[in-house]
C-alpha cells in the first residue's frame, strides 16, 4: 500500500488592524514627503497673514500688540482647513493614478485607508502649526501659554483637524476630478474663516451672521485656541455668553469633538460606499 503526503495549506493569521494601519500611514507619509507642494503651499497664506498682514493691520488700525497674537492664532484656523483640503486632493490623485485600486482589494476594512490618511494629515498639520507658531514667536509675537492652556489649544487643534479631514475625504470621495475638488476648496476652507472671528470678534458681524458664526466649528476652535494660548476668553464669551471660561471651553470642545466624530464616521462610510460600485 502506498502512502501520499497531502499538503494542507495553513491559513495565514488575520493581521491585527494596527499593522495595516501603520503600513497605510507610512505609505501616505512617504507619498506626501515626495510631494513638497503638500507640505509648503498650505503654509504660505497663513504665514503671510501672521507676519505681513496682521502687523500692517495693527499699524493701520492703531491697535495694540496683542492684535498680532490674535491674528496669529486666527491664521491657524486658515492653515488647518487649507492643509486638510490639500490632503484630500491627494486622495483623488491616489484614486486616479495611484495604487488605491490595489488597496481596495487588500484584506483589510476599507475604513483603515481613511484612518491611515487622517493620521498623516494630523502629523503634517501639527508640523505646520508648529512652524507657524515658531515663526510668530521669532517675529516677536507673544503668547501666554500654560500647561493647561496648551492642552486646550491642542485639543481644539487636533479635533478641528480631524473634522476638517473628514470633510476633505467626503468631498474627495464624491467628486470625480481634481478640478472640481479645487473649485470647492475656497467655499469650504476660506469662506468660514472670514466668519469665524479669525481677524475680528464675531460680535462685529451683522446680527444674523453672528448667529451663523456661532454654529461654525471653526469659531469654537479659534475661541478655544485663543483661550489656550492667549488666556483670552472673549471669543468663548461671544459664543456662549456665560461667565465661567472653563465651562464655556468645555462646551466648545464638545462642539468641535462632535464635529470631528461625525465627519470621521461619515467620511469612512462615504469612502467605503464609494469604493464599491
Amino acid at each position: 500500500m502506498s502512502t501520499a503526503e497531502i499538503a494542507i495549506p495553513i491559513p495565514r493569521p488575520r493581521p491585527h488592524a494596527l499593522g495595516p494601519l501603520a503600513t497605510l500611514a507610512r505609505r501616505r507619509f512617504q507619498l506626501t514627503a515626495r510631494t513638497p507642494r503638500e507640505l509648503f503651499v498650505p503654509l504660505l497664506t497663513p504665514i503671510m497673514f501672521a507676519l505681513v498682514i496682521a502687523p500692517a493691520l495693527k499699524t493701520a488700525l492703531h491697535t495694540d500688540a496683542s492684535y498680532e497674537s490674535i491674528v496669529a492664532i486666527g491664521t491657524v484656523g486658515l492653515l488647518i482647513p487649507l492643509n486638510t483640503m490639500f490632503s484630500g486632493l491627494s486622495v483623488i490623485v491616489d484614486r486616479i493614478s495611484g495604487a488605491q485600486p490595489e488597496l481596495l482589494t487588500a484584506p483589510i476594512p476599507r475604513g483603515l485607508l481613511v484612518v491611515g490618511n487622517l493620521l498623516v494629515a494630523l502629523a503634517i498639520t501639527a508640523l505646520q502649526v508648529g512652524v507657524l507658531i515658531a515663526v510668530a514667536v521669532a517675529r516677536g509675537i507673544h503668547f501666554h501659554a500654560t500647561a493647561g492652556g496648551v492642552l486646550w489649544f491642542l485639543g481644539a487643534g487636533v479635533l478641528f483637524t480631524v473634522g476638517m479631514y473628514g470633510l476633505a475625504e467626503i468631498l474627495a470621495s464624491r467628486v470625480p476630478r481634481q478640478e472640481e475638488y479645487i473649485a470647492r476648496v475656497p467655499a469650504i476652507a476660506i469662506l468660514p474663516w472670514f466668519l469665524a472671528g479669525a481677524l475680528f470678534p464675531i460680535t462685529a458681524l451683522p446680527g444674523f451672521l453672528t448667529w451663523v458664526a456661532k454654529f461654525l466649528p471653526l469659531t469654537h476652535g479659534l475661541a478655544l485656541m485663543r483661550y489656550g494660548l492667549l488666556q483670552d476668553s472673549s471669543g468663548l464669551h461671544a459664543i456662549w455668553g456665560m461667565s465661567d471660561p472653563a465651562a464655556m471651553a468645555a462646551l466648545s470642545l464638545a462642539v468641535v469633538g462632535g464635529f470631528a466624530l461625525l465627519l470621521t464616521a461619515a467620511s469612512i462610510r462615504v469612502f467605503s460606499r464609494a469604493a464599491v460600485r
Partner: protein, 312 residues
C-alpha cells in the same frame, strides 16, 4: 473544492445597464481560466465582483470557498489582482510597492524580504527593484505588478486584460511571464482578454462572454474542434441567406455555417476543402474563396455574429 465558483452572477448598474446576466462557471484549483470577449462584454465587471469592488445585483461567487459578498475580507485574503490600467505608487520604489502589498496581506516581514528578492529575480526586476516605479518602462511596470500580486502567495490570481495598451514587443515579453505562471501548480489564474492568441496560448479553458452572457465554455481545442479541421470562407455579392440555403441544399454547408455581412463561413467536418470549393464554384456563388484552419474568432463569430477583433 473549486478555486472559483460563480453561480447565476448578475450585475445591473444604476441606469439599467445589464453588464453581467446570470453567468455560471467553476474553475478548478491550479487551472488557468480565460474570459474572452470584446470591450463591454462584462469581463471586467465579473472580475470586479470577484474582487469585491463591484457589488453583485444577484447570484453568488466564492473564492477558495469564501463568499465574496458575505466574507469579502477572507475572499480578498486568498486573492490578488493585476489591473487593466497601471496601478502602482509611482514615486515609491518597486520594492516598497511590493512591501506594502506584503504587509497588507499579512506576510511576515522576514518572509516578505525573501519573497520579494525571489520574485524580483524571477521577473527580471532585480536591478531595478530599488528604483522609483515611475522610472520603469511599461513592460517593467507590468512585471512589477505581477510580482506584487504574487508576494502574498494568492490562491487565486486575477489578470484583467494585462497586455492591453502595450507595444507588441513588451506584450510578447509579458505573455512569456504569464505563461510561466502555469508552472505554479498551487495558483489558479483567471485571465480576461480580448486577444484570441492569448486565450489559446495561456488558458486551460475559455469562457466566451458576449453581452453579459457566457455563450461557450470549453477548452480552446474543444471549441475549435466544433468547427472541424478546416473551414471555407467566401464573399457573396447577392443575398447571403440565399447563398447559405443553396450551400446547405447542395450538402456543402451544415447548420453550423454562418454569415456576417457579405462573408459566409462554412465549417468542413468530413469533406475536403478542394471538394467544397469546387462545389461552391459550380453554384456560382462567390468571387473570392479561401480555406483555412478555424480560430477562436470563428467560434466567437458563429456564436455572436460579431467579429471579436472588430468588437474589441
Amino acid at each position: 473544492m473549486n478555486a472559483i465558483e460563480v453561480t447565476r452572477l448578475s450585475k445591473t448598474y444604476p441606469g439599467g445597464v445589464e453588464a453581467v446576466r446570470g453567468i455560471d462557471f467553476q474553475v478548478e484549483a491550479g487551472e488557468v481560466f480565460g474570459l474572452l470577449g470584446p470591450n463591454g462584454a462584462g469581463k471586467s465587471t465579473t472580475v470586479g465582483m470577484l474582487t469585491t469592488t463591484i457589488k453583485p445585483t444577484s447570484g453568488s461567487a466564492r473564492l477558495a470557498g469564501f463568499d465574496v459578498s458575505r466574507e469579502p475580507i477572507a475572499a480578498r485574503r486568498v486573492s490578488s489582482v493585476v489591473f487593466q490600467e497601471p496601478v502602482v505608487d509611482r514615486s515609491l520604489s518597486g520594492r516598497r510597492n511590493l512591501e506594502i502589498h506584503a504587509r497588507l496581506w499579512g506576510v511576515e516581514p522576514h518572509e516578505a524580504v525573501a519573497r520579494i528578492n525571489e520574485l524580483a529575480g524571477t521577473f527580471g526586476l532585480a536591478d531595478l527593484i530599488d528604483r522609483p516605479a515611475d522610472s520603469y518602462s511599461g513592460g517593467q511596470r507590468r512585471r512589477l505588478e505581477i510580482a506584487r500580486a504574487l508576494v502574498s502567495h494568492p490562491r487565486v490570481l486575477f489578470l484583467d486584460e494585462p497586455t492591453v495598451g502595450l507595444d507588441p514587443r513588451i506584450r510578447a515579453e509579458l505573455l512569456e511571464v504569464i505563461a510561466s505562471l502555469r508552472n505554479r501548480t498551487e495558483l489558479t489564474v483567471l485571465l480576461t482578454t480580448h486577444y484570441l492568441e492569448e486565450a489559446e496560448r495561456l488558458c486551460d479553458r475559455v469562457a466566451i462572454i458576449h453581452a453579459g452572457r457566457i455563450v461557450a465554455l470549453d477548452t480552446p481545442g474543444a471549441l475549435l474542434a466544433g468547427l472541424g479541421r478546416q473551414l471555407v470562407e467566401l464573399r457573396v455579392d447577392g443575398s447571403v441567406n440565399s447563398a447559405l440555403a443553396s450551400l446547405r441544399e447542395r450538402g456543402v454547408a451544415g447548420e453550423d455555417a454562418f454569415a456576417v455581412g457579405s462573408r459566409v463561413t462554412v465549417p468542413l467536418h468530413e469533406q475536403s476543402s478542394g471538394d467544397a470549393i469546387a462545389a461552391i464554384h459550380e453554384l456560382g456563388l462567390a468571387g473570392a474563396i479561401s480555406a483555412r484552419e478555424p480560430t477562436l474568432d470563428d467560434v466567437y463569430l458563429r456564436l455572436t455574429g460579431d467579429s471579436l477583433a472588430a468588437a474589441a
